[in-house]
């Protein structure tokens, strides 16, 4: 304690580093926080601990070989990562996707959205201090969906199920019944979850008016996904781009008003209910028979090492549960992509973490980070 500090009026600031090894930073992510008492004066995020240079790897491998690596980007929703990468390559090479494959792709994407939002709500409650109960209820429901993923794609989390122009294989024999069972009692689980959480006074007082994100700042900071919609901006790529066959399903896009942690939490619960509506429509409209991969797609899959897309560049993007996940590919006609860039929603959504956390307490910084929903595999790539 230097002598001057004792007498000077300037408050004694405490420099604390939250992370990279911390119970609630969702992975190796570090926040250098300067505290005046408990309120945050300055916050600098530090990342890059999990940087595996996924893009350099992809430039030394064939297009299909980096499909299993996209599972490792956002390791909670591997199906949507595959979807984004497949969309980008299909746009680059002009490959069409047959009807039934489109339905199964949207089915998988919406199931992954359920998995991601359920986990997020569970982890957010864990950061709030609820001793693992919500997260274990979330895991209980997630297991059912992961069993279906294992039955179709072969692996629970690292699915590697999408191929350019369609899918690796069709649904297994009892696949649709499994999905029906999941979809039917998921809304009952959501009601139970809401009864446990939504009107909980402690959760409300901890999350309301905390980490408020204004509309203008959200748009200017390229925030996408539920975080943007919680601030009231109506921008959902499923509705804007109408990629794949999303224009055939009618579903709503929930928007918040204040844009604080509570809105981000509740918008995700409403989005889950919308996903269930989509899944029910899929189960009704899905054609029984139909080929799984288009002719051009099968040709590309025959020997991936030799497959050469036409030269040029393409940017394919989808609405992943965390935001806009895009792949920018530049091909120079060789089997290896010349430039392979991932536009990760988590990485860009934490650009304004400091603006949201200033003036709040240490405990709030943790739940603001939790409500942003980042996964370090996607942030550091």
């Amino acid at each position: 304690m230097s002598e001057t500090a004792l007498h000077s009026q300037e408050p004694q600031l405490l420099e604390v580093s939250i992370g990279p090894q911390h119970p609630s930073t969702h992975g190796v992510f570090r926040m250098n926080v300067v505290l005046d008492g408990e309120t945050i004066v300055k916050l600098k995020p530090v990342m890059g601990y999990l940087h595996r240079n996924h893009e350099q790897l992809a430039e030394n491998m064939s297009y299909l070989a980096s499909m299993p690596y996209t599972d490792r980007l956002d390791y909670i929703c591997s199906m949507t990562n595959n979807f984004a990468y497949a969309t980008a390559v299909e746009k680059l090479a002009g490959i069409d996707v047959p009807e039934r494959a489109q339905y199964i792709r949207v089915l998988m994407a919406e199931l992954t959205r359920l998995v991601n939002h359920t986990l997020l709500v569970g982890f957010l409650l864990n950061d709030l201090g609820a001793f693992f109960t919500p997260i274990l209820y979330a895991f209980r429901e997630r297991e059912k969906i992961l069993d279906f993923f294992e039955a179709t794609a072969g692996s629970r989390m690292m699915c590697n199920y999408f191929r350019f122009g369609g899918l690796k294989s069709d649904l297994p024999a009892g696949g649709l019944e499994q999905v029906k069972k999941i979809v039917n009692n998921y809304s009952r689980f959501l009601d139970e979850f809401e009864r446990l959480l939504t009107n909980n006074e402690i959760l409300r007082s901890r999350c309301q008016n905390v980490g408020i994100l204004s509309k203008e700042l959200a748009v200017s900071a390229s925030i996408t996904g539920p975080m943007l919609r919680a601030s009231g901006v109506n921008y959902d790529i499923r509705k804007v781009d109408k990629y794949s066959i999303y224009d055939r399903f009618e579903f709503k896009v929930p928007l918040g008003k204040v844009g604080d942690v509570y809105d981000r939490y509740y918008v995700r619960i409403l989005e889950m209910r919308e996903s269930i509506k989509i899944l029910q429509q899929i189960l009704k409209q899905m054609p029984e028979k139909g080929e799984i991969i288009s002719a051009k797609g099968a040709a590309a899959g025959k020997s991936p090492r030799m497959w050469k897309p036409p030269a040029g560049d393409a940017y394919g993007r989808i609405e992943s549960p965390k935001g806009e996940l895009g792949f920018y590919l530049v091909s120079d006609g060789t089997p290896k992509p010349y430039r392979y860039h991932v536009r990760p929603p988590s990485f860009i959504n934490i650009t304004i973490l400091e603006d949201m956390c200033l003036g709040y307490k240490v405990a709030d910084a943790i739940i603001i980070l939790g409500s942003v929903d980042i996964v370090l595999g996607e942030v550091d790539r």
Binding site: M61, S66, M67, P68, A151, A153, R195, L196, E201, R305
Partner: protein
């Protein structure tokens, strides 16, 4: 009113507490692992294994090295066999898969034109030493086609039907019908393997 939300939340946890006693099938979701194991789905893929018909000698793999080139993490290493005159044979002398590097993505199974390599269901493979024990040589990889049929009936059924339709017979049978030029000193005429 203040406090009712908390009480409603607590009623949910109390209900789960009681449910776990009165109706354990729904109330308890955990599996007591060592005693009871959760059976894996049929398409579950863990590390690859090589298939042989009948005896380990006539394995399906012809050392064409496609899977080694296609493997994203490059964890397959093949050296084809050479016969007395030094000519390359259609059979791998060494076929190593480094299970420590393999990420069980299943691409080798897709690209293999000879239906020789498939993904296994075995997941209890922990070893003490990462470098040597997890480097599986050919002998540890070879498994009979009956094993493949046992763990993945539908896939194996489909592949065997295809093979039968295209009249692909096991290696030994090929040797028999192939011209005498490539007589293999090691193999004598065994009885032809049980065809698909």
């Amino acid at each position: 009113m203040f406090g009712f939300g908390v009480l409603k939340g607590m009623s949910v946890t109390l209900w789960n507490f009681i449910l776990s006693y009165i109706y354990p099938k729904k109330g308890i979701t955990t599996v007591q692992y060592p005693e009871k194991k959760k059976e894996v789905e049929e398409r579950f893929r863990n590390f690859p294994f090589l298939v042989y018909d009948g005896t380990p000698d006539n394995m399906r793999c012809v050392a064409c090295d496609i899977c080694a080139k296609e493997c994203p993490p490059k964890c397959i290493y093949i050296i084809p066999e050479k016969d007395a005159q030094g000519r390359i044979q259609k059979k791998p002398a060494t076929f190593d898969i480094d299970y420590a590097i393999c990420m069980n993505c299943g691409i080798c199974e897709e690209v293999c034109p000879f239906d020789a390599i498939f993904m296994d269901h075995e997941y209890e493979l922990s070893e003490y030493d990462r470098l040597s024990d997890l480097m599986y040589p050919k002998e540890k990889l070879l498994k009979p086609v009956e094993h493949f049929m046992k763990i993945r009936p539908t896939d194996c059924g489909a592949i065997e039907a295809q093979r039968a339709a295209k009249g692909i017979k096991g290696r030994a049978a090929q040797v028999q019908s192939a011209p005498a030029a490539t007589v293999k000193p090691a193999e004598t005429q065994q009885n032809p393997p049980a065809n698909a």
